[in-house]
Symmetry: C2
Subunit: 222 residues, 2 copies
DNA sequence: AATTGTGAACCTCTTCACAGCT
DNA sequence: AGCTGTGAAGAGGTTCACAATT
């Protein structure tokens, strides 16, 4: 049993939005720590992330009391606490399926490695890519994905293959004991209970902008 | 004044989640139309997108009544209606700032062009890239972004530059009359009233998975 | 004086349930 | 009988406002 520095209040569930915001706070705190800022208030943290101060405090209060009344939060300490909460204090083994532009962008993204996401295997079906090495990662064919990800004890798989292939790739990853999947294919994927999946879809965001331009004054928020 | 086939109910505002789901329905309908499906129920549309049938009907009801009771929706008709609502029935001029892996992925993404997002200019600060042509798009230096995007009448700009440069790039795009921005830089950006901005942040999604793995049983939903 | 932590109020989004068409 | 469209109920997320603390 690992002793944690933060005290999870009750057995309350955490909303997706809170988790997303914690990521943002973490990034802000990293930047602040690097530039020598020692202390920060919920107000400042909020301004840097486009939310309210109350929101910042509520988000943090899900996990404990990290600040000091009248003074604010210690930047380094809070960064450490959020890092622990988010699981960014350890390294995760990441598999990449589909080495196209998106896959390559992830491999190149230094921030990933720094924050503990280590891409240890990559798969592609293109013979021209198989056998090549990108940023130290050898690309292999997908013949034995199940076996390979199980052997490598992969924690997270990034799926960046064409939509028609995505569900079967995910099924094979799940068979190989992968418990978390980041899907870039523009299609809904089903996974069994206990497996986490998130979708990243660039088309949805730009189409959201299209909607805003086509219907000015009809969008919530901005 | 353009006559629209869909009737926006009152002057009600549309939530972001509704807009995102409309994008997904649109994609499903496109696929269904291409494979010859003629009619669809809210139940089926829901199942394909991981939501409830009531949700689908509520989303659509913001814009009008597109179905027929007892029968469901005509696939082609509904696709047309959603396309019109989302502004996907026209072409948008897109500028790309920062031609890295992400930028290239967008240029390569055929679906974009098909759905009316035409990348007409690209900027980069790397002399090795300036002057080159990627998929028919010439890459120029960012010397005169304001002037160039105004001359080209750019509707949407995609910002894929390093975080420290993002805010100033956005300021220049706004000066050049760009009204919608898709930001890939992992930093909060402020824009004046009337300009739409959306953020695409791969780190947030994968960090969300990290949180789920670090705190199993603590996440809402799945 | 400043700022956190938090219950309560408020608001928004989702689901329910059923009347109304086909 | 089947399925949509929608008001009402329910659930969840955000903001308020203030007691507690430094």
């Amino acid at each position: 049993m690992v002793k944690r520095k933060f005290h999870r209040k009750n057995i309350q569930r955490i909303s997706d939005s809170t988790v997303q915001r914690l990521s943002k706070y973490f990034r802000t705190l990293t930047y602040m720590k690097d530039t020598g800022v020692k202390t920060v208030s919920s107000e400042t943290l909020a301004r840097h992330n486009g939310v309210t101060a109350a929101q910042v405090r509520k988000d943090l209060s899900c996990f404990g009391a990290f600040g000091r009344r009248g003074l604010g939060y210690n930047v380094s300490e809070l960064k450490g606490n959020i890092g622990e909460i988010m699981g960014l204090d350890r390294t995760w083994k990441v598999a990449l399926v589909g080495v196209g532009n998106i896959g390559r962008a992830l491999i190149d993204y230094d921030q990933f490695r720094i924050q503990g996401f280590q891409i240890t295997i990559a798969f592609d079906s293109d013979p021209a890519k198989i056998g090549k090495t990108i940023h130290g990662v050898a690309v292999r064919d997908g013949e034995n994905i199940e076996r390979d990800v199980r052997a490598e004890k992969v924690d997270i798989a990034v799926v960046a293959v064409p939509a028609p292939a995505a569900q079967s790739v995910v099924d094979r990853l799940v068979a190989g004991e992968v418990k978390a999947i980041l899907n870039f294919a523009p299609i809904n994927i089903t996974v069994p209970e206990g497996v986490f999946i998130r979708h990243e879809n660039m088309a949805i965001e730009i189409e959201g902008l299209s909607f805003s331009l086509a219907n000015p004054g009809l969008v919530r928020g901005s």
